[in-house]
């Protein structure tokens, strides 16, 4: 994918939040009529517990490399002109803070929706990012997550079909 068509970044929350409007601007183009965007925010509750914040740890170099791979897959899938923005936060986020933004711009809307959805699924299931939830009682816990091992992934996939993932806050 042409680097001008992809903005793939990890943003340290300490240096400012993620701006969804900037992501939409990035994927805009006079040729594009459809922009789709997903914004993942920290929510106040997960699996019945009151959440006060989330700490994200990110393997930034590997994550950005993999984001480029996700973008390539999206280009292959939609087979049209495509701009993508994939930005994930790292650090300690409060409830309501933006954890991730994926934006896709294409000539027509169906491709934008499809690319956006494909990429956020990849970010959630395949990117080297770990989430630790903080609870109102001061406790905290790493989320369960998706294994990146080939053998474990097959097991996880079967598991995921049967019930909600424990780590999906969005």
């Amino acid at each position: 994918m042409n680097p001008e068509m992809l903005d793939a970044r990890i943003v340290d929350i300490a240096e400012g939040g993620i701006d969804a409007a900037a992501a939409l601007d990035f994927v805009s183009d006079p040729r594009f009529g459809g922009l789709a965007c997903f914004v993942g925010k920290v929510r106040a509750q997960n699996l019945g517990r009151v959440v006060t914040g989330i700490s994200y740890q990110v393997h930034a170099a590997l994550a950005c490399n993999l984001f480029r791979g996700f973008a390539e897959r999206a280009v292959q899938a939609v087979d049209c002109e495509l701009k993508l923005s994939i930005v994930h936060a790292t650090g300690r986020l409060a409830v309501g803070d933006v954890a991730v933004v994926v934006a896709a711009g294409t000539p027509h809307r169906d491709e934008a929706f499809r690319a956006c959805r494909m990429v956020i699924e990849a970010v959630k299931h395949e990117a080297p990012i770990w989430k630790r939830e903080h609870y109102e009682d001061g406790d905290s816990a790493w989320s369960e997550g998706c294994s990146l091992c080939e053998t474990s992934r097959e097991h996880d996939a079967g598991h995921a079909r049967g019930q909600h993932h424990g780590h999906g806050h969005g």
């Binding site: 990110v58 994930h88 990012i129 990146l148």
Partner: protein, 86 residues
């Protein structure tokens, strides 16, 4: 070869500064690194987290590796427990 493994997520607090250094045979593969780390954990970690290690992937700075892949020449491996981004 001397290999430095950087531990992420729920593995990060298993070792001081989140890193483990192991000596592997020249030409070692990811499967060998996994085996050596699991043995190291049994010997040195109060909680060896074997189930979590079994579900963890190994990666270079540019890609997630498979079991039969060679350990990178620069001796740097990342150990990735199940991920939970987004």
């Amino acid at each position: 070869m001397i290999v430095t493994l950087t531990l992420y997520g729920a593995l990060g607090d298993a070792a001081a500064d989140g890193r483990v250094t192991l000596t592997l045979d020249h030409g070692a593969r990811v499967a060998d690194a996994r085996q050596a780390l699991t043995e190291h954990a049994r010997a040195h970690w109060s909680d060896p987290r074997e189930s979590l290690l079994a579900r963890s992937a190994f990666a270079s700075d540019s890609a997630v590796l498979r079991e039969h892949d060679a350990v990178p020449d620069n001796g740097q491996l990342s150990v990735l427990p199940p991920v939970s981004g987004g």
